[in-house]
Symmetry: C2
Subunit: 150 residues, 2 copies
């Protein structure tokens, strides 16, 4: 990779962008927190899962909590930072449901009692953010849209 645009999206993806990482997180949010159960639910090779869990723990997204001393057994729980990724999964799911699925989606219910239909809104004005409702304010000058490199 030769000097790409510096960007927190890229940084975030270096944590959760590897294959299976977000699916592991999905399982954690669904309550599946043990190694073997994850292997089955995600369909991930065991060695890859072990690597992903290590990486996610190291990045502070999950934590490994013992639930049995003898034999030593652990479960994987989301940290505060991990929980904040839930919105990403909710949006991905909505997108998949709308544009790809040909199958009854898994439906989530919000605490308000209705089926959850997640929308991104602006914290300030509390209105939905439409796709073209945003402008770049403080970009790094050399990395403007022209794609020119310093």
């Amino acid at each position: 990779m030769t000097a790409a645009r510096p960007c927190s999206i890229a940084d975030a993806l270096s944590v959760v962008g590897e294959k299976y990482s977000l699916l592991v997180l999905r399982e954690v949010f669904l309550g599946v927190r043990r190694f073997d159960a994850m292997v089955r639910a995600v369909g991930v090779p065991r060695d890859v899962l072990a690597a992903r869990l290590r990486h996610l723990i190291e990045a502070g997204v999950l934590e490994k909590v013992p639930y049995s001393e003898r034999p030593p057994r652990y479960e994987y729980r989301p940290t505060e930072a991990g929980l904040e990724l839930r919105g990403v999964l909710q949006l991905l799911q909505r997108w998949g449901d709308r544009h790809l699925a040909d199958r009854p989606p898994v439906v989530f219910e919000h605490s308000c009692g209705e089926v959850l239909d997640p929308v991104v809104t602006c914290r300030s004005c509390e209105r939905p953010v439409a796709p073209d409702d945003v402008r770049v304010r403080s970009a790094i000058p050399e990395w403007d849209a022209a794609g020119a490199r310093p």
Copy 2:
């Protein structure tokens, strides 16, 4: 992959979960829509970019639009479906800014005039969706949280 949980998140990731795909989308949203500019901004190998663009077009996320006849030149634009992925990137960026970045983030401005701080809300009640504000309503029975497989 041996029979994983059926899920639109996984489906969505099979479209945008490959390495670089979301970064290509980031560029498209920033207005970088041509091959060479993407190579520079994303830092992706040229053949990989070519493959990703093909895949994203095929999946209906981008479209290839000619902007010059002679010589033939194309640019890549988001479709309606593609635009709907913008929220995912906004949340990933927010997450990266909060948890990883040690660098001044690229700031976006919402059309309301304030700096964009994206929050996921429930379309019905219009209130923010907290990490544990949701319950599964209609899961596929065999794929409950226990992770047992049929």
